[in-house]
Subunit: 251 residues, 2 copies
């Protein structure tokens, strides 16, 4: 049985302030917990009696049995799951030199939690192990983001830092960005490593970052020159760009 204070504490993890104070975040649902429990330090695992009975091998984790009514109180899902993990937020150290040998995403104030979660998931698909975000980007540990990653946050490291400083350290020639006036991505050389910058949902890449971006790319619309939507959703543009970088490498 959960105490009032425990319930309050878990509910507080839905908010950034609560997560900062507690140093923890939540992940809900059997698949998500299975994908993440080997990676994150588990503070507490809330589970229904049925879930515990069907997972006898998990007894090394700090499991607490809860009723469905208790689960509903602490869940952030419309339909609460059978299991909810409370994990410690990991502290990753950004190592610019090792990132120079990889393909990395940088997010400039991507604000929608669903977009961030989708980007983490597609980064995982394309073997991108590091995402560097401006401090104004949505918080990875927001429960909506965690759920939208579908477990990919266990395999992709996400950092929050000043992008001008990070991009300057990476070097202009290594940095790519997508722009409406960039050069056709399909006719531009793409390197195996580097940083791909994706901009904010409404405003794109901020003007202050442009000096750090040595390679301006554009995803061509079809047919070229016809009236069309003004832009693509940021997760969609990130997906097409990452897919093209990886296609070149396996060509």
């Amino acid at each position: 049985m959960l105490s009032k204070n425990q319930i309050k504490r878990i509910q507080s993890l839905a908010r950034k302030k609560g997560r900062r104070d507690e140093g923890c975040f939540i992940a809900e649902g059997n698949k998500l917990v299975e994908d993440t429990r080997a990676v994150f330090e588990c503070d507490m695992l809330l589970a229904t009696r049925a879930w515990i009975a069907s997972h006898p091998h998990l007894t090394s984790l700090p499991v607490q049995e809860v009723t469905e009514a208790e689960m509903a109180k602490v869940s952030q899902l419309t339909t609460p799951a059978d299991v909810l993990a409370i994990y410690r937020i990991p502290q990753y150290r950004l190592d610019v030199e090792s990132l120079k040998r990889e393909l990395v995403l940088a997010l400039d104030t991507v604000q929608d939690p669903g977009n961030l979660g989708t980007i983490v998931r597609l980064a995982d698909w394309f073997g991108i192990r590091h995402i560097v975000c401006s401090p104004e980007t949505a918080d990875l540990y927001n429960p909506k983001v965690v759920q939208a990653t579908m477990g990919a946050l266990a395999r992709v490291k996400v950092y929050y830092t000043s992008l001008p400083q990070f991009l300057a350290a990476m070097g202009r020639s290594r940095v790519y960005g997508t722009f409406l006036d960039g050069s056709d991505i399909y006719r531009t050389p793409l390197s195996e490593t580097g940083v791909i910058v994706m901009g904010n949902e409404g405003n794109g890449i901020s003007a202050g970052l442009e000096p750090y971006i040595g390679n301006r790319l554009h995803i061509p619309s079809y047919p070229v020159g016809q009236p069309t939507s003004e832009s693509l959703n940021v997760a969609v543009a990130a997906a097409i760009t990452c897919a093209e970088f990886r296609r070149r490498q396996t060509e």
Copy 2:
């Protein structure tokens, strides 16, 4: 000033039953209204005094001035806009023969409104003018979908019909689908026209549709064979697939 009945009627358009009863849907915000007003028959345009003053050329539309408080009552947005259009839902006739000369998307029970809106927007970007949806797919005229299309619903026709019947009429050799066990999309011939089927968020393409799909594609993860996310978000997969079809045509 809006009457109680008017407010009730507009609020009812947030629900599918209300839209069916009224034959109308809503679109909110200056950009969305500007993008759509030439295309859809406008039943009523609610606007604040400031918006009306800055749009003197729109007097041919049935404009009704509302206060910000009234707008907040009928708006589906967290931050209500200055303008809200009520449009008649258009009735499009599906013409299989003319669709055989185009690249078309088919959606098999895509349920998330944000995903559907994003797919309509990217279809527009890639010059795809027709999307054929199973009846269980999210409703295009759901306000969340309308807003997520960012105006693209003015340029893309969306139909709801039985997919087995539609795909059978198109012919198996013309139909493509993405599967985890399909052949590498980058190493498979893609035709200029045809149907690309995208599946449900949780279950992919339903087993009942597989007999109608002559071409099974797969978006390769990177590096091939490494553990990764089990799948991509449906809008992301649609984007990469459409981008690749169009890239081939302009190669």
